[in-house]
């Protein structure tokens, strides 16, 4: 360096950049393939590394069949269902900071979201509309899978996992429905859980377990809250993991018609 004479500021800054990007700390954080590395660049090898060396992208194989990425084949519906689930998790965590599952606080907290919390109403809206859209995309995803016959061997079991995901999605949406603790929530859930009472033989018991009593009370609110924010997400994440894993193990996206 010394014999190069005077270095301009620009040279010095870029030299510093290179120095940082070649440092042990930097290269230990950003694995090969990361765009933030000094040796990043477009090559078949780096394209493979982008996927292999990233925990998120690692859901994917390095390469997929060309027809598997046709938007007109999957319509992105499975992927969008997953994205909506992530979005609902993020917005849901935000909402949890401002919500108490007790009566009457739950309702007042909903009002406070609209008035006192920065972006509170926007996030609540996104959580609610997103939930509706997710039910739609999951249902449409199932429909596209059916019309492609993509449940046929070796994918039979992944279809069954999918049905479980559909059920869990509906349950998540239904348990969330009660949480605003307004007239809409109370009576929609009343109508829904009354159906549980018609289960042959065990109707009374099923209904009792569902709402945590002979009728909906503040106890039901707590029960639905725990199911909604902890139990069901926990279960659905496990089944999603199996679902995605099976998509890969069953040979990627199914073939053309």
């Amino acid at each position: 360096m010394a014999d190069r004479g005077r270095t301009s500021l620009k040279e010095r800054v870029s030299g510093l950049g290179d120095h940082v990007r070649n440092s042990q700390v930097w290269t230990s954080i950003f694995r090969p393939g990361s765009a933030l590395r000094a040796d990043s660049g477009d090559s078949p090898r780096n394209r493979a590394y982008v996927v292999m060396n990233n925990v998120l992208y690692h859901l994917h194989p390095v390469k997929v069949k060309r027809r598997g990425i046709k938007v007109s084949y999957t319509l992105c519906l499975g992927g969008l269902s997953f994205f909506l689930f992530i979005l609902l998790t993020v917005t849901g965590i935000f909402l949890m900071f401002y919500y108490r599952p007790t009566s009457p606080q739950a309702y007042f907290d909903m009002q406070a979201l609209a008035t006192d919390v920065a972006f509170g109403q926007l996030v609540r809206n996104m959580h609610r509309w997103g939930a509706h859209v997710m039910v739609l995309t999951v249902f449409l995803h199932m429909t596209r899978v059916f019309y492609h016959g993509a449940y046929k061997p070796p994918r039979e079991f992944n279809w069954v996992v999918g049905i479980i995901l559909l059920l869990l999605t509906l349950l998540l949406s239904f348990t969330g429905y009660l949480l605003p603790w307004d007239q809409l929530a109370l009576w929609a859930v009343t109508v829904g859980s009354n159906m549980g009472g018609y289960v042959p033989v065990f109707g009374r018991q099923v209904s009792f377990a569902l709402v945590g009593g002979v009728q909906i009370t503040a106890d039901t609110l707590l029960r639905f809250y725990v199911l909604h924010v902890l139990f069901l997400p926990f279960i659905i994440v496990i089944f999603m993991a199996v679902h995605f894993w099976r998509v890969r193990k069953d040979g990627g996206i199914s073939g053309p018609l």
Binding site: P44, R47, A48, V50, V51, Y57, H60, P61, V62, K63, V64, R66, R67, I69, V71, C76, G79, L80, F83, L87, P104, Y107, M110, A114, L122, N125, M126, W129, G130, H132, V133, V135, F146, Y147, G149, Y151, K152, P153, R155, W159, V160, S173, Y177, W181, D182, Q183, L184, W187, A188, V191, G192, N194, M195, G196, Y198, V199, P200, I216, G255, L257
Partner: protein
């Protein structure tokens, strides 16, 4: 000659023909043991004659084929035992008396200790263990496929889909608030009371059937039936023209469920009685704020 694959034999024959300056066909025939050894050039003649004729000069063969003498001897004995033929007479230097012994019983004794003194200088000590046939050990049945890198091709598409969905939801949420009615009141049931929209198909069925049938048995068995589809539909084809029944049945389910849901959402008013949305208004609180 061990039964080598044809193409290896041919390659060896070509190499030797080139080295010795004789036609390939001749070498090939010789290797297969079809042509008389006399056809070989003079230098090779004695050894060839020895390996074919009554006596065998192992030292000469060893020098000629580059195979250590003990191995040649073992092979010779093994072959004799396998074929049940007498062990050839050994000729030339180092032919022991044991060479005359009967094949089977004499085999172990026939391997002289002296022979294990190591290979003579200039003799290679590798030997052919096995010949792997040209086709792979593991049969690959998969056809070569047209594949693309996930990055950038798939990830770019996913990114666009994700951003579009995010933009759509953000815009919708900025424009329309989620509904929030009055505080929950156990003593005042709204009329009509509707389930969340995805259950309105079921609620609609409650209007026609016994609650146990519409509320429990139909959804329960419906879900189970959906789950069993792959095990009931044994037709392996995925071509729509081969799946007319399956496609019709699912379409009936899909359209039926949609109609029931739309009916329950928009065509049911107070008392869950039939209404026309354009005449009596819409009683559907899920979309309350959107419809306003």
């Amino acid at each position: 000659m061990a039964d080598l694959p044809e193409h290896l034999l041919k390659r060896a024959a070509e190499a030797r023909a080139k080295a010795e300056g004789v036609p390939v066909e001749q070498v090939l025939a010789e290797m297969k043991g079809e042509a008389p050894a006399a056809a070989a050039p003079a230098a090779a003649a004695p050894a060839a004659a020895a390996s074919q004729g009554a006596g065998r000069d192992l030292d000469a063969d060893s020098a000629k084929f580059g195979v250590p003498r003990p191995l040649l001897e073992r092979a010779m004995l093994a072959r004799a035992r396998r074929d049940g033929t007498p062990v050839p007479q050994l000729v030339g230097a180092g032919a022991p008396a044991a060479a005359a012994a009967p094949a089977a019983s004499a085999a172990p004794a026939a391997a002289p200790k002296a022979a294990s003194a190591g290979p003579p200088p200039g003799v290679r000590t590798q030997r052919l263990l096995t010949v792997v046939k040209a086709n792979a050990i593991q049969g690959t049945t998969r056809e070569p496929q047209d594949k693309v890198n996930v990055w950038p091709h798939l990830l770019a598409i996913e990114f666009v889909a994700l951003i579009s969905m995010l933009a759509f939801l953000t815009l919708l949420s900025a424009l329309v608030d989620a509904p929030l009615l009055e505080f929950a009141n156990f003593n005042q049931q709204p009329n009509p009371s509707k389930a969340p929209w995805y259950f309105l198909g079921l609620q609609e069925m409650l209007a026609y059937f016994d609650p146990m049938l519409a509320g429990v048995l139909i959804p329960g068995f419906g879900l189970a039936a959906l789950a069993f589809i792959p095990y009931v539909d044994r037709n392996p084809s995925v071509r729509p023209s081969d799946r007319k029944l399956a496609i019709s049945l699912y379409t009936v389910f899909f359209v039926g469920a949609s109609i029931l849901t739309i009916f329950g959402s928009f065509f049911r008013g107070p008392g869950f009685n039939f209404t026309f949305p354009w005449r009596d208004g819409i009683f559907f609180d899920d979309l309350l704020t959107i419809l306003e």
